[in-house]
Symmetry: C2
Subunit: 148 residues, 2 copies
């Protein structure tokens, strides 16, 4: 329980650092298209299925609702999406891609692939698969954790 202090906070610290590096690598590649990293996941979800509600987007992207609300506000400001009210349920709004967003889909996908490629340089497919598997297992562990 009271070991020597873990070398550089080990896993949690390293993963946090790696996540920041991924975000930065993505940022430089998508900046030319006027998109920032936080908008990326919602955009991918909408490319897959346009017209999702905010709630559905939260579930798919694994982000809390207020975070999504802010992100969508910026995306609307930046001309990437519109919110169209649901006539059958006035609480909901459907998020729809603009022409501008659809026009840059391929470029954004390419950017994501480029980041993945840069990160995994020198890694075998088996290593990448292992990494994803271990990542998924730890996510499940921590989700089940809940607290204490």
């Amino acid at each position: 329980m009271t070991d020597a202090l873990p070398r550089e906070e080990s896993l949690g610290y390293q993963v946090n650092h790696l996540a920041r590096l991924f975000a930065q690598a993505l940022a430089v590649r998508i900046a030319p298209y006027g998109v920032v990293p936080g908008q990326f996941a919602p955009l991918l979800a909408l490319f897959e299925q346009d017209g999702l509600s905010q709630r559905e987007l939260c579930d798919r992207v694994r982000i809390e609702q207020p975070t999504m609300a802010n992100t969508l506000q910026r995306m609307e400001r930046d001309g990437l999406v519109r919110r169209v009210p649901d006539p059958s349920d006035r609480r909901r709004a459907h998020v729809r891609l603009t022409e501008r967003a659809r026009a840059i889909e391929q470029e954004l996908v390419s950017a994501a692939l480029a980041v993945n490629g840069a990160a995994t340089g020198g890694l075998t497919d088996a290593e990448i698969a292992t990494y994803l598997d271990l990542t998924a297992r730890m996510m499940r562990n921590l989700e089940a954790d809940g607290g204490q």
Copy 2:
């Protein structure tokens, strides 16, 4: 280059998500001590060597200087550190732990170990070692990446 869109943004997305889960798991465990995740790495660095300058802390923790400036401000507000001016160089200040911070060192280290333990449940030591190795390699790749 223009593959099908990567399944859930693959690596970058998963790592981001995992990092958030780590931060949350840590947050619930250290909240009782009045510490938040962003203060954790600087505290560990200071436990190892007290009296570092802000610049040295940035280098050790891999955080940009303005981020550290804000974090230290909150840590000072929360009574975890003091900044004492360097008499021999009036630009610098040394960050020193308070008694309160030193008093909770063991609890904080335990919390970090508990988070690591929760995350790595069901993983072998070899798997954890592999994970850290692959993480380090990707970090090197992305650091070398720079942009484009």
